[in-house]
Symmetry: C2
Subunit: 323 residues, 2 copies
């Protein structure tokens, strides 16, 4: 085969996703294994190597030539050195690790490393919902709110690789205290746990909500999926929670749009699967709030690559110009 | 003289400032004339030409060779075409005007046009408080809150030339309605008029405030200068107004820092002259709120070039790479 291929590895707080990806974005093979984060740094590194080995084994069997290995990790990653330099709350044991060096010791391939949310943005830009655009904001809504920024067709990193923290834009200067130390950060209002907290609060005054039935009265079963499901069936409390989330997200994204003036905002992550026009409702809120000159041509769209975006983006690093 | 020189023109809502500037930032001549905005578009254009002619006359007398003319204007300016494309609330009569073409008809020099706040940022980056940095946020605090962004040593424009609207970052998602149509925009809280409004509100419950004395009981004399003056003399209400402004600015700038992760934030405009450690207090608020990985090396500094920044930046266009 003459096509060029790379291995992409996506290190998460729980699992490692990996795949063999062609340079035009086709996924030829993918897999997942536990990161075993509770066993510490060396176990995580050993599992990362295992993910590479499984990918290489697949490539060997299929006689696919692998050109390079790309890795995405939580935290502030220096893409020039491959080191995890800062702010890694989901995987604190990896702080300070030079992933590039630790993998180069075992594999004789060029190795590139970047932040996981940046790589999801890169994947959506190259092969997903933002294909064809050059100025892109990409947000992921899940346990946290993260994201990546593409400017002029290149992944944007910021001066200390700490940019694109959409979850930590202020939407209420005297609001909820955030885990990051900040005040009124978007993540405290519109992440999955924040939506669940909001629902629990409202449910205290709504004993008849369908949500009680869907969770069989067990609030530990309350997830954003349940909230969206209840809204679909006409539940007023569920609808209120989702409307509020759209308002919060609209306010935060409008700020970002007024500052960075992108062509497209891509919204991914588990919560983005909400349905019922969730993305359209966020878009309406953004367009209501942001500058007309910044929203006139703006598109707000759902991410396309789902859970594969992380390793596809990592594989894509091999063929991308990274500043 | 072998040094290269340009003419810089700064079109404002009231006046036109202009100057002859060497390519290393030395101001050899400067002047100001009324834009006569109430006389309409053609009068403004005629005054812009007059500013150019006066600059050329100076250069002629001193035998200075002028290479090029740069012009800054309010609104969303397309630097490639030289047209004012959008959002020009301070000079609505200029919306849609192609400044580059309208001046090229009269002067046989290369002409470059950009947004006025962008050019202030460019001037501070080339010759002022942000010299030596490459990722810069520059805010101007005055009647409005505007600014410019330098990324990787280049002026950043956004996909429709509508970026860097610091005044329209949300700091309170259910807060004050803004003139731009948005809700809770920073400008509604920390611009000069917003500070004056806050002071007036607080003064109703403080008949003994020094501010009453300084304005001789005439609230139309209440300006941010008076507020800063009263604070300097220990007035509690004045201090409360300034502290709040620092809190608002800290929240907005922290959002921008978490998103763009610059090396330095430059604060200019009339209000930045506040004194009493105004800039330090804003810096403290930013560092309290933003991500440690984004603030560790961050500097927050006062602008250096004052009212000249606009025309210096315009002249600088001639020697800058603009995307």
């Amino acid at each position: 085969m003459s096509k060029r291929h790379s291995i992409g590895i996506d290190l998460g707080g729980t699992n490692i996703k990996f795949g063999v990806v062609s340079h035009d974005g086709e996924v030829l093979h993918k897999g997942m294994l536990s990161a075993q984060v509770n066993l510490g740094r060396e176990a995580i590194l050993s599992n990362l190597r295992l993910a590479v080995k499984r990918s290489l084994a697949f490539a060997g069997r299929k006689r696919i030539r692998v050109n390079c290995i790309g890795v995405g990790s939580p935290g502030s990653v220096n893409p020039r050195t491959g080191k995890i330099e800062g702010s890694c709350p989901n995987l604190p044991q990896m702080l300070g690790v030079n992933l590039k060096r630790r993998l180069s010791d075992h594999f004789d391939y060029p190795i590139h490393v970047d932040n996981d949310a940046n790589l999801m943005a890169l994947a959506e830009f190259k092969f997903g919902a933002a294909k064809g655009f050059k100025d892109v904001l990409c947000l992921t809504l899940g346990t946290g709110i993260g994201g990546g920024i593409i400017l002029g067709g290149e992944l944007f990193h910021g001066s200390s690789f700490a940019g694109a923290e959409f979850g930590h834009m202020t939407i209420n200067h005297r609001g909820r205290k955030c885990n990051c130390g900040g005040i009124g950060c978007l993540e405290m209002y519109a992440s999955a746990p924040a939506m669940v907290r909001d629902a629990k609060r409202l449910l205290r005054n709504d004993r008849k909500s369908l949500i009680h039935k869907l969770t069989r009265g067990d609030s530990s079963r309350l997830t954003t999926e349940v909230i969206f499901q209840a809204e679909k069936k006409g539940d007023a409390t569920a609808s209120r929670v989702v409307n509020r989330a759209c308002e919060y997200l609209g306010a935060g994204i409008a700020s970002a749009v007024n500052l960075v003036n992108p062509q497209v905002v891509v919204i991914g992550g588990g919560v983005s699967q909400g349905g019922l026009g969730f993305i359209r409702r966020i878009e309406n809120e953004v367009k209501k709030r942001a500058f007309p000159s910044a929203t006139k041509k703006l598109k707000v769209v759902k991410a396309k690559l789902g859970n594969d975006a992380g390793f596809i983006g990592a594989a894509t690093l091999c063929s991308s110009a990274v500043r």
